[in-house]
Amino acid sequence: MDVDSIFTFLGTCVVISPAALLLVFGLTSLLGFPLGERIMARCTQASIVTGLTAAVLILFMMLATGTRHVTVEFGNWFMIPEQHFHFHVKFLFDRLSVPFAILSFVLCGTIGAFTTRYLHRESGYRRFFLCYAVFVLGMILSSLAGTIETLFIGWELVGLSSALLVAYFHERPAPVRNAQRVWSVYRIADASFLIAALTLHHLTGEGDFDGLMGSGSWPEGQATISQGHALFVGLLLLVAAAGKSALVPFSGWLPRAMEGPTPSSAVFYGSLSVHLGAFLLLRVSPVLEQSTTLCVAVVLLGLVSAVVGALIERVQTDVKSALAFASLTQVGIIVMEIGCGLRYIALIHIIGHACMRTLQLLRAPTLLHDYHTLENAIGGHLTGESGSNEPKNGQRVRTWLYRFALERACLDASLDRFIVRPFVQAFRWCNQAEERWTRFLSSRGSTNSGPPPSPLVVSVTANTSTDNAVTEAFHV
């Protein structure tokens, strides 16, 4: 058995293990033979350990042989050879994808083990693990994708599982509304991604990253498209990354996503999913390098997101929201690093931040309990002294900043006011016009009456009364 065959075998194991997990969970649910909790936990364990072991072995082999670029071909999923149309499935193992895949396996494994106990005997246990399997497969496909189409498939799977897990506690309206918001933002990001992918496909004639990024393995590749095209495609990808990583102006969905169970919050919005946008930018970084304007845009977007995240984080009153905005700050900084061309630093930053944030989010529910125990023991509050170091001047600026942060930079409110509300009003008007026309033709009323709410307008996480007021105002 030569080295290439071993690489192919291990690479296949990495991809097949989460796919097999999804197949088992999906088929048993579909056929009405639900698995027990213990079997599901064992299956998850086996899948993650297999995938992780294979990924680590690939890393060691790459280090041992000095190979920096391994591809595993799965052939064409479908094709029309006469029209040169093909959907090529190929996986790429390089300095970017291997660490990200290992990170995904490690964190997903941790979360899987944690959830086995956290959701023990919960009615939604199976539902959680089905979505979890979709998520793991999506992450691995995205991490290892060798073509932009494969990356898109992983991207979509991650989006779907995220939205469904935000709505995990689906007997309450707030999680469901928040999930709808998350899904809406993801769909817009997906649309942007798809247009970018198609444009790249038309410009270079293929969706293969090797072809798109020219010669050289990551991060030394050089894009083969012109500066103008790079700017156009790069901006579309930036929108896609902003949607997925909750950068400004889409940051509003990040605290909403914390409505899901703690393990999913940790793995999606604290560690992996929230970094997927940054991963995309890293993967297409040769395209970014083609245009200075694009790099500046990336840096600015990262800077604004980091500043906004840092400000908002300071005024949050619940730990999960505070952690969500702290994540946003770090992701913003990572995006800035990518814009500045510091690719390795960005990759290391992603890994470090993801691990730390997962730990924090998993610790968050028990931390409160521990604080209470400690306070009971000492018979007083643990709050530190405040006010002694506060500056005396600049009170107006501080008040403004406080309000700005409390309103979460009015990001969601602005999107609702300038995009959602005009959209809804315009199509409500069309709906009424159609009803009038139908009534005119039939001389009888149509049954669809009353003001229709829009799925795009959803309530805010109910943390502040101001937010609720905004929501109610938009549910005209």
């Binding site: 479908f78 689906h170 007997e171 899904w183």
Partner: protein, 484 residues
């Protein structure tokens, strides 16, 4: 012309036709439903048999063995070709599943006799290539919903207005076409009239109000069976595509593109489940028309793939909505219903079919959506990306409906609402088809590509005018005549 090994086409048309008569004579509704189910099942078997038989022949078109109609009329009326071969079993499957998933509480409302009659008409339409016979069948097939509206005491004006316009345009267009020569101005006018008729039947905006009206006033099953087989698209393929010049087809594609986005936007603001479904369906059926009228191999292949995927996924989606309606009454999307805990199977199927319709990876809709997008961008580089926008909006609307119907609250009831075995069977069959077609798309893509190429070749033969009969020379001749 090649022959099938058995008279599949005639049997699959005659079975529901005779079945309609038999079922009409039965007084007991339960017995009628059982007989209808048997007849639909047998028809489906015949349709599948015809498809498999045709697949073994490796030809573009074939007709029945012992073709009685040919023997009588000396003309091949019922012919199967690569376009219609998979459409016949799809249509039969939609009818079978609709009857199968009709719950006992709804048997008094749903008219099985008319359903079988319309199935016979639909299968005859799909198996026919003769323009006048297609036109006759399309006009007659508009009658069962009309009679149902009358029987339910609903206003029929909107439906009658649109369907009579549709019929008049078809007849006028085909008459003009018969009188004209290829490439002449009369021929172009005929193509425009026929295209308009196809647009009305497909519900392209602003000629779509009959569809929302039908969904509101007829039973869900009847409305579903009338629109999901995409008879309008079939009319466009058989009557418009072979004769219309490129600019008419491109215009139709542009209007369809606009309708796809408009309907997706409208689906987002609906508060009634039926109207929501109607707009969702309109958006998708418009995308089929977009692909069909692009007249490129990729676009046409994509459209034919989307045709199958939309037919399957939205029929499943509609059947799920219908099953939910049978439990709760008319569904409003203004409030949460929280039905997940009672009907997890239907919830999962609702989501799966919805995602398949928007072309989610791993489902049957993915390939078609990719191909249509590729074709649209190839022909309209600037606005082809609108297809992506329509898909994104549809995705948001589907998830919105899912959340409203299945989540958001705890539904309290003393009656079991879980899916019945028949419904489970229907769900399982469609799920397997949706996922099977999604994971193994290559045979479907190959078959649709062959069909697309063959259709384009036929079109080229039909639309190439003789040198002295081109549109320009006809125009010049007409101007000269007017001047004198």
């Amino acid at each position: 012309m090649s022959e099938l090994h058995l008279p599949w086409l005639e049997i699959s048309i005659l079975l529901p036709l005779i079945g309609a008569l038999v079922v009409c004579l039965v007084q007991d509704r339960d017995v009628a439903r059982r007989r209808c189910l048997w007849i639909c099942g047998l028809t489906f078997v015949c349709a599948v048999g015809e498809w498999l038989d045709f697949g073994t022949l490796h030809v573009f078109e074939a007709h029945d063995h012992w073709d009685m109609i040919e023997a009588v009329f000396h003309k091949d009326i019922f012919v199967i070709d690569e376009l219609s071969a998979p459409l016949l079993p799809l249509a039969a499957l939609v009818y079978l599943l609709t009857v199968l998933a009709t719950v006992r509480t709804k048997v008094d409302r749903f008219t099985f006799g008319w359903a079988l009659f319309s199935e016979a008409l639909l299968l005859a339409t799909l198996a026919c290539k003769e323009p006048w016979v297609i036109i006759g069948l399309l006009i007659v097939s508009a009658l069962p919903p009309f009679f149902e509206l009358v029987a339910r005491g609903k206003c029929t004006r909107v439906y009658v207005f649109h369907m009579s316009t549709f019929a008049a345009l078809l007849v006028a267009g085909q008459t003009l076409h018969d009188l004209s020569s290829t490439g002449s101005i009369i021929s172009v006018t005929a193509a425009v009239l026929l295209a308009l008729a196809a647009l009305i039947r497909s519900g392209i905006a602003p000629l779509h109000c009959w569809m929302t009206d039908l969904f509101e006033k007829a039973t869900f099953g009847t409305a579903l069976l009338y629109v999901t087989p995409l008879a309008g698209a079939y009319a466009a393929m058989r009557l418009v595509l072979p004769i219309a010049p490129d600019w008419i087809l491109r215009a139709v594609a542009l209007v369809s593109l606009a309708t796809a986005v408009y309907s997706a936007c409208m689906a987002l603001v609906q508060t009634e489940a039926r109207r929501f479904f109607c707009y969702l369906f309109l958006s998708h059926s418009s995308l089929v028309l977009v692909g069909l009228e692009l007249v490129t191999p990729i676009g046409l292949t994509g459209a034919l793939c989307v045709w199958l995927s939309v037919g399957m996924s939205l029929a499943g989606f509609g059947l799920t909505l219908r099953a939910i309606e049978a439990r709760t009454g008319t569904l409003t999307l203004k409030k949460f219903h929280g039905l997940y805990d009672h009907t997890p199977v239907l919830a999962a199927f609702f989501l799966l079919t919805g995602l398949a319709s928007i072309g989610f990876p791993g489902t049957i809709g993915f390939v078609g959506a990719e191909l249509v997008l590729e074709g649209a961008v190839e022909v309209f580089p600037a606005i082809g990306f609108v297809v992506v926008l329509a898909s994104a909006l549809n995705g948001i609307a589907i998830m919105h409906a899912y959340f409203r119907i299945f989540t958001g609250t705890r539904h309290v009831t003393s009656v079991s609402l879980c899916a019945r075995p028949r419904e489970r069977l229907a769900v399982l069959v469609l799920t397997l088809l949706i996922l099977g077609g999604g994971f193994f798309p290559q045979p479907g893509v190959e078959s649709r590509y062959h069909a697309a190429i063959a259709l384009l070749e036929h079109r080229e033969i039909k639309t190439t005018p003789p040198p002295d009969e081109s549109a320009i020379s006809s125009l010049v001749a007409w101007f000269t005549a007017t001047k004198h």
